[in-house]
């Protein structure tokens, strides 16, 4: 683990009074390596190491811990601070129905998360309706309908229609069924697909969702910043969902996405079932990234 690796590079700290540029240089290299292996974007890792250097240099060497532990604590605390407070508040006030729009790359877990979100909101006393706005993927509508049926949550769908129209009609359907939250499940798409990104912009413009969530796969590597920044530029989303975190991916994408978008990670997917949802815990995420 990182502490053990750092101990080797920090032997020279024994008997030293302060952390200096020189005596932590090797440690910083080791930390950078660890972050890259954890899939933190390389630019973000560089900036992060710079912050650590500034925080660490000049610090007194604490006698009650090992030098490795001291540096790891600086790194850990900085990671926690960067990833922001644990907050999963959704903007759901105003004239009902409140509208939440989900977006992201192909296969990131949007449809599954839509069901999880419906489950979560219902437990909080809301009346959600799921909206099947993916008209492209074979059996996407059926997938959402089955998930809705299993949860006893209504699903709005239309045959031979287009996403903007489906979303617009769902508002009336929600009011008729006294549903106070709409969850729009959209098709996965590439951030470089102009037409498909335009479709999302059109939905946002027409439907004005209160909350837009970017759903990202927790195993995403260096590309995380590309997709996240493009989606942010086009949609200015409010929050991020990180899925499939029940695997063993270190999850460096969490830091990369947070840094490049400055948006909070609101939820974490930890399984395939509708109850496999957690709110984001920056402490846990920091420990995981550090391995």
């Amino acid at each position: 683990d990182l502490t053990a690796k750092l101990e080797a590079t920090l032997k020279k700290l024994r008997g030293q009074g302060k952390l200096t540029e020189d005596n932590i240089a090797d440690s910083l290299k080791e930390i950078r390596r660890s972050l890259l292996e954890a899939d933190v974007n390389y630019r973000i890792a560089k900036e992060f190491i710079e912050r650590i250097r500034q925080k660490a240099v000049g610090e007194e060497v604490i006698r009650s811990v090992t030098p490795g532990q001291q540096i790891v604590k600086i790194v850990h605390d900085e990671l926690v601070e960067l990833m922001g407070k644990s907050q999963s508040d959704l903007k759901l006030s105003g004239i009902p129905p409140a509208i939440i729009m989900l977006c992201g790359l192909q296969g990131s877990g949007k449809t599954t998360f839509a069901a999880k979100l419906a489950n979560f909101l219902r437990k909080k006393g809301r009346h959600p309706m799921l909206v099947a706005a993916d008209i492209y993927r074979p059996a996407a509508i059926q997938q959402l309908q089955i998930l809705g049926k299993n949860l006893n949550v209504p699903v709005y769908a239309e045959e031979n229609s287009v996403p903007v129209q489906i979303c617009r009609s769902s508002i009336k359907a929600a009011r008729e069924k006294s549903c106070d939250v709409l969850i729009l499940d959209t098709a996965g798409r590439l951030h470089i697909d102009q037409e498909m990104m335009q479709e999302l912009e059109n939905i946002k413009k027409e439907i004005t969702p209160q909350e837009i969530l970017f759903v990202a796969d927790g195993m995403t590597g260096q590309d995380a910043v590309n997709a996240a920044s493009q989606f942010l530029e086009r949609l200015d989303f409010h929050g991020v969902v990180l899925t499939k975190m029940d695997g063993d991916a270190r999850g460096g994408a969490a830091l990369s996405i947070r840094q490049v978008t400055n948006r909070p990670i609101k939820f974490v997917g930890i399984g395939e079932k509708p109850d496999a949802l957690e709110t984001f815990h920056p402490e846990r995420m920091a420990s995981r990234i550090l391995g």
Binding site: R33, L36, E37, A38, D39, N41, Y42, L105, Q106, G107, S108, G109, Y136, R137, P138, A139, A140, Q142, Q143, L144, Q145, I146, L147, N150, L190, H191, I192, D217, M219, T220, G221, Q222, D223, A224, N226, A227, K244, D246, G247, D248, A249, R250, G252, A253, E272
Partner: protein
Amino acid sequence: IFFARKIDDDLLEEIEDLLISGDVGVSTTQEIMERVKRQVKRKNYDSTEQLFDLLKTEIAGMFITRLQPTDLHPPKPRVIFVIGVNGTGKTTSIAKLALRYHQQGKQVLLVAADTFRAAAIEQLQIWAERVGAEMIKHHEGADPSAVVYDALEAAKSRQKDIVIIDTAGRLHTKINLMEELKKMQRVIQKVIPEAPHQTLLVLDATTGQNSISQSKQFIDAVGVDGIILTKLDGTAKGGAVIAISYELGLPVDYVGLGEKIDDLEPFDPNLFAEGLFQ
């Protein structure tokens, strides 16, 4: 970045960053850079064109290429077992493979052995109809091994050339799900002793270093013959496959370049290496 520059430490560092940003990974990047630096010194390179060609050659050379089976007497049916973690593109890739075989005049049978995920069977059914391939399915919640058993018996009696088995996405860390996969493999072997003739692991190009961990676990559980690397039409480079091919000995057989049924290409290591630098 190679245009009209001299080969200095700055350029080498930029190349290193470029490889890292392509998900090549720290140790593989170091290996590539060390080889390249040695060659640059030895051959006294001074032009960036030479450097670029050297990098491409080195990277392309790290891929294991599969020796094409001569298939004078191809197994009938040839059984292809498709596995991988959730959402990587298995079902879509199977549709693409089915089309290729169909276009070669082969009789293809698809097996809907993802009995877990909502509408997984319906999804494959739609693709089967588009390709013109038959499909064997049970109901949602059925035992996937039972579906496989029935499908292989049907493939034999109906004289199918190719059987492609779609499985549920599963995280490689879930022991019970990996056991389920092993059981499916045992059932396949029972019905057709030489099968599965090809086990393909589907990896998502947007995944980072976790692809390596996935590959190791799937190899350990059921063995893997080749990789399908999907979503290479995005901005992700899929660089983790270099380590997977070089260190784990897995060839990359195909790349997925989109969501349509003809968006599948055989893997070309030279094109892949070039792609890392675009």
